[in-house]
């Protein structure tokens, strides 16, 4: 893929210049203050590009093949189904880049060798962004979070880092961008590049320029996420499973009624096959 310009070599050089990573102590004064809890700035329905409407309005630069897959997902959702959001409705992670949408709050934790991004929603696993100058591993199993290598940059030369550049690879498929089901290519070769930095005028706003490179796209797709720092931090536990009324059996989706009965999601949907139950019990 032409777009794939690794940052590993640069990262390695940087690490060598900055002394061996294993020997580094964590010098807080070199890092920006991204402490606290960050939430998405923009309201409204969750969507990948907040500057555009949900669904087709996102105008993802999909190839014709993947545009039709997205259309099928939207059509299924219009009839009551989950479309490609089906796996997420079952509490399977949406992974990257969706988890940086910060629908639920996130936290950044810096250590000398790794920057962690921790999410309140437990279906988003912690992101480990390795800033120790390592190269891409050759035998890592794909993860929903992918494998991330980062590089801190002192953009204005004041002796303090202000930008974190990240490249993420090796993400699991199937994966989608948002709840409408904008799909990634099934080859699992997507690359996501991020550039995270504090707003110059407002230190309580963080920006994340995210560019996705994927064979389902006709060109790299760039969006900018904005996060606002919460003044009062309260962490809750969001585990997805509790209160989830989506029930999947085989290839069918059902709903759980408020009083605990299985119910259809679509008009005319057949009930599940009960052949494994004792016929006399039915």
């Amino acid at each position: 893929m032409l777009h794939r310009i690794s940052i590993a070599a640069t990262a390695l050089a940087t690490a060598l210049l900055m002394t061996a990573p294993g020997a580094r102590a964590h010098d807080d004064s070199k890092y920006p203050d991204w402490s606290g809890q960050w939430r998405r700035v923009e309201g409204g329905p969750p969507r990948y590009d907040h500057s555009k409407p949900y669904g087709r309005g996102q105008q993802p630069p999909l190839t014709e093949e993947y545009r039709l897959i997205h259309e099928a997902s939207l059509a299924d959702q219009a009839s009551g189904g989950q479309g490609l959001y089906r796996t997420s409705a079952r509490c399977i992670p949406m992974g990257m880049p969706w988890q940086m949408y910060a629908l639920f709050p996130i936290e950044f934790v810096f250590t000398a060798n790794t920057t962690f991004v921790l999410s309140e929603i437990m279906t988003s696993q912690p992101r480990r962004i390795y800033t120790d100058g390592r190269a891409w591993p050759e035998d890592q199993d794909p993860l929903f979070t992918g494998y991330s290598i980062g590089r801190w940059i002192d953009h204005d030369g004041d002796g303090k880092y202000d930008v974190l550049e990240i490249e993420t690879r090796n993400m699991r498929v199937p994966r989608i961008y948002d709840q409408s089901g904008i799909p990634f290519h099934e080859d699992g070769e997507a690359i996501i590049k991020e550039r995270i930095y504090l707003d110059k005028a407002d230190p309580n706003i963080l920006h994340n320029e995210m560019t996705t490179i994927d064979h389902a796209l006709t060109r790299p797709w760039t969006v900018t996420r904005n996060y606002r720092r919460e003044k009062k931090t309260i962490w809750t536990e969001n585990n997805c499973v509790e209160g989830n009324d989506n029930i999947a059996v085989g290839k069918e989706d059902y709903l759980l009624s408020p009083d605990g009965f299985l119910m259809p999601v679509k008009k005319g949907q057949k009930p599940p096959d009960l052949r494994y139950f004792d016929q006399a019990q039915k």
């Binding site: 988003s124 696993q125 962490w235 585990n239 085989g250 299985l262 259809p264 009930p271 494994y276 139950f277």
Partner: protein, 285 residues
Amino acid sequence: MAFRCSIGSLTVVAAVAMSIAAAQAHDESKYPDWSGQWRRPAGINNQWDPTKPWGKEGAPLTAEYQAIYEANLKDQLEGGQGTDPTYTCIPDGMPRAMNVIYPMEIIILPKTTYIMIEYFSMLRRIYTDGREFPVDDGTLASFIGYSIGKWVDTDGDGRYDELLVETRFMKNPRSFDASGIPLHADAETIVKERFYQDKDKPDVLHDEVTTIDHALTRPWTVVKNYNRERNPRWFELVCAENNEYIKIGDDTYMRSPDGRLKPQKKGQKPPDLSLFNTTNDAAKK
């Protein structure tokens, strides 16, 4: 509860003595090296007390909760889940999370020590900034609880070597382990922990865990041990991905390999599908 001696006041004293946490730069040389990936030792199953066999751990349960536990074991023998609530993929919560079924990582920062457990993506924030336990306004309860910690330099060498932790505000349902050893329905559990590295083996971490709960006749202490992998490979364990159990109303069923619903117990009735008939009939009209 008589056992409830808060470590909050000690924490405040310690925080003041060590200078205000907010003003501290992170002096790594004061903290132990607990980096890397920590795993339960090979051969240790998911029983709460690793020194005893699964299901025969001699939990000091009250008579009422011993009876609940026995009924749970019988239900599990018949194919049910008993009092182990995690088959629906809700998190283990505390103290069970410290079984560390899948690996954990510990990040030590001045104000917070983070424990990230790969299983269920459980994340513990252990606040070491000198705060007191907050007053619960009804929103604090979580499976993992609210943890306050205190670093201790036991040998006076200028470097912390123990982390004392107290955890409250855990919510139910929880059990100590997969055998279903129950915790009290009142959810007033307190868990006290003492983390420390083995003196002879720096790649072994111990967690002495004492659980105080109204289902117990006395505080129950076990010691969990973890081995360090210094060059870890992390993976993702997604419970919901291959979960064969389905809870519908008050009953639990299973997914068959061919994608159909099946009973988990012999003679189990199928789920009530009356809403399908109603909905479909309505659709026809």
